[in-house]
């Protein structure tokens, strides 16, 4: 086997020559591999889009919501009461504002946030201290994520009018800072402004906030702390439900359910079909050369060497095809979300790319193994007689 391996290296030019004998077929086969892997990359990205956020979730964070309904508010006074609960390290809150810039197509996830604890809670965002200070000093200040700022061409110091969809009227904000994510998967589409400004101007639900985020001292205690919070507010007018950020987001993912399942399973079927086509092409190309393989054996190539030659050829279709496909998929996702900003998470995970490459290698071997085995078992006399 080892000598066979050495032979492969030695006969690399020979394998290449075989590949280039039928250029169209080689291009088509490499192309189908590329297409399959591009599709794989895309599916992986779609999957992250739907599960997105779950991996982003902080392990030591809890979400506290109104028990009766997601959209119902909680009193501002809960902040200090949550802080008293043992195991709580920090707390912050936010209110969903909901607003559009210029027209309804430009929907921006806007939140009124607590200027005291917000920055400390979301350590995954890179927030410059001096920008944050400027934001805190300006009642009408706002902080926006990099991708939103880029999308609308905003820069620090701009004054932007936002039309409120929940809180009516036009609200003008001064951009005091732009934040980045520390990881590729961080959501940089958000837009924050001061809760104080909202509470001052809104005409209803004064002194109410949307939800609380709680950081626990020890992540392994999260369940107990969550239970303690719910216990604290049980039988009050505003009962709470506290859960880990991860399970909160996972709950959403579960509800998207069917559509995600359908897209993913359809994609997998397609992937399989493409690989089937590729495999049959390879088998075809080996069959056509039965005679030549017999000649190789006649001039002294061992069975193993012939088998490895065929297998190597198959891999030489798969590897460049996979690389091209994955590179194209990566390029595609870098261009941004094709729905025009509906999805906060749209990126191709390097782990998934590796997985795709592994899949392509496996498919290359699977497609080549039967022709390779046939080539190995080929009996010279019979094969030569066939010609």
């Amino acid at each position: 086997m080892r000598t066979a391996g050495r032979q492969i290296v030695k006969f690399f030019p020979f394998i290449l020559a075989n590949l280039f004998r039928k250029k169209t077929r080689t291009i088509l086969t490499v192309g189908s591999f590329a297409v399959a892997l591009f599709l794989f990359g895309l599916l992986a990205t779609i999957d992250t889009t739907f599960t997105g956020g779950v991996e982003v979730a902080g392990a030591d964070r809890l979400v506290v919501l109104n028990k009766s309904s997601l959209a119902q508010p909680l009193p501002f006074s809960y902040r200090d009461r949550i802080l008293q609960i043992p195991g709580v390290k920090g707390v912050t809150f936010a209110v969903w504002f909901g607003g559009v810039y210029q027209n309804e197509r430009n929907f921006i996830p806007i939140m009124a946030v607590d200027t005291d604890g917000f920055k400390e809670m979301y350590t995954e965002f890179a927030i410059a201290d001096e920008q944050w200070d400027a934001f805190v000093r300006d009642r009408e200040g706002c902080f926006v994520g990099r991708s939103t700022a880029t999308k609308y061409g905003w820069k620090i110091g701009d004054r932007v009018p936002i039309k409120g969809t929940i809180y009516p009227g036009v609200w003008e904000f001064n951009i005091r800072g732009i934040y980045d994510g520390t990881r590729a998967e961080d959501d940089t589409t958000q837009f924050w402004f001061q809760y104080g400004y909202l509470d001052e101007r809104k005409q209803f639900l004064k002194g109410m906030v949307g939800w609380y985020m709680v950081r626990v001292v020890r992540p392994e205690d999260d369940i107990h702390v969550a239970a303690a919070i719910d216990q604290r507010f049980a039988n009050s007018a505003y009962e709470t439900v506290a859960e880990t950020e991860k399970s909160f987001l996972a709950g959403f993912v579960k509800q998207i359910g069917n559509i995600r399942l359908i897209i993913i399973s359809v994609g997998s079927v397609v992937l399989f079909t493409l690989l089937l086509i590729t495999g049959s092409t390879m088998a075809m190309s080996v069959r056509e050369r039965t005679g030549e393989l017999a000649v190789l054996k006649t001039i002294g190539f061992t069975d193993a060497a012939v088998m490895l030659l065929v297998l190597a050829e198959s891999l030489l279709y798969a590897v460049p095809g996979a690389l091209i496909g994955l590179a194209l998929a990566k390029l595609f996702t870098l261009r941004g979300d094709p729905t025009g900003g509906l999805l906060p998470f749209f990126y191709l995970d390097p782990d998934r790319m590796l997985m795709g490459f592994g899949l392509a290698l496996a498919a290359g071997i699977a497609a080549g193994i039967i022709p390779a085995l046939l080539a190995m078992r080929l009996r010279i006399v019979e094969a030569l007689r066939r010609v």
Partner: protein, 390 residues
């Protein structure tokens, strides 16, 4: 121009093994193509069917959905007196002020919780929406903790059938009736008394989120809208109910469309590659035959066309198989979270003849894409040399 079509059809049959790979590839693409379109269509139709062209929905100005809107009782009264509002036999305006909330209920099969839209309605709600009927049981009575649930709710969620007592908003409710709205979004909703719902959720009692109005005719919208927009007591958006619901379907429909078409285009390219491979090897294996046909007097144009027909024929078989494979999806019910209403919506796939036609057109395109170059190559076969070969 004469075409040796019989020859091509027979060779398709003779080379069935490699043909079937190409057919399979194209069938798969067409099936997925039709399925994706059917899913998007089904989702959209479910929401569009919720709105009637003869109804108008009034929301606070600037709000994108009912969830974000607020309408007070005073405003509701002004709206009720506007021109264009239909009145019933007792001269009562047909208008339903409504409250929309989200409840979390446990699902039957998975045991997971899902978000359900609660709609607090007035007693006129069923008169305003003619498509919504009480299929079983009766309507709730005002002021009593009774609910009527959409038929999808009844069989998707635990403890939500007739006579059951689901719990939300901190109290128990009795399911007193089942709604059937003919497959629209209301089938995924729970309806109860608006005022009681507000009280249960600690909300101001006479604050609603939208008012749905039955108009005297679908054309009355303009007059109605004009009157409300001009009224200084109101800042409201008036929209035809059907348009409103169509808009609520946009995010999910766009997502399905974009992802679906991306997947389908990529698959299409893959299938064309497969077809190309099949056709090229079909041509390569038949050099002698082609040369023979040429020497019988068929021109190179005939060869191109006949091979193109062969490829299209293969693609159309694939297309038909793909369409047949997608047919059973018709009526298949799926459910997903509608990001715009923030609640779960059950919808049925709709495989319609025009979608099947689009699928066949797509197959035709793939046939042309996979056959054009190989057939050109077939036409360029040098007759003398090919005949001399073994």
């Amino acid at each position: 121009m004469a075409l040796p079509l019989i020859y091509n059809l027979r060779s398709v049959r003779v080379r069935w093994a490699s043909t079937s790979i190409a057919v399979l590839g194209i069938a798969g693409v067409v099936a997925v193509f039709v399925a994706m379109l059917a899913m998007a269509r089904g989702f959209k139709e479910t929401l569009v069917a919720s709105g009637s062209p003869g109804n108008a929905i009034v929301r606070r100005g600037g709000s994108l959905s009912e969830m974000e809107s607020v309408i007070t009782l005073d405003q509701v009264r002004v709206v009720a007196d506007a021109p264009g509002v239909m009145r019933n036999a007792e001269d009562i305006p047909l208008l339903s002020p409504e409250v929309v909330l989200i409840a979390t209920l446990p699902q039957k099969n998975k045991g997971a919780h899902a978000l359900v839209q609660l709609r607090g309605v007035s007693e006129r709600a069923l008169e305003v929406r003619e498509t919504v009927k009480i299929a079983r049981g009766r309507c709730f009575r005002p002021g009593i903790a009774e609910v009527v649930v959409g038929k999808n709710i009844a069989h998707t969620y635990r403890n939500c059938n007739l006579g059951d007592t689901p719990r939300f908003g901190g109290r128990e409710w009795t399911v007193i009736g089942i709604l059937d709205s003919g497959g629209s979004a209301f089938d995924s909703e729970i309806w109860c008394d608006a005022i009681l719902l507000n009280q249960t959720y600690n909300r101001p009692v006479y604050i609603y989120q939208s008012a749905t109005v039955k108009m005297t005719s679908p054309d009355a919208l303009f007059e109605f809208k004009q009157a409300l927009t001009a009224d200084p007591r109101l800042t409201v958006d008036v929209e035809r109910e059907r348009d409103y619901y169509e808009r609520q379907s946009q995010v999910v429909t766009t997502m399905i469309r974009v992802f679906g078409s991306l997947i389908v285009v990529i698959m299409g390219i893959g299938a064309v590659f497969g077809a190309l491979n099949t056709m090229y090897s079909a041509v390569a294996a038949r050099f002698r035959e082609i040369a023979t046909i040429r020497s019988l007097g068929f021109g190179s144009g005939s060869i191109v066309l006949s091979f193109l027909c062969e490829s299209i024929f293969i693609a159309l078989i694939g297309g038909v198989i793909g369409c047949i494979a997608a047919l059973p999806l018709n009526g298949f019910t799926a459910s997903t979270l509608n990001f715009q209403t923030f609640s779960n919506l059950a919808f049925a796939f709709q495989v319609t003849p025009d979608l099947l036609l689009q699928g066949m057109l797509f197959a035709l395109l793939m046939g042309i894409g996979g056959g054009l170059f190989p057939s050109l190559r077939a036409a360029r076969v040098p007759v003398a040399i090919a005949l001399r070969e073994l």
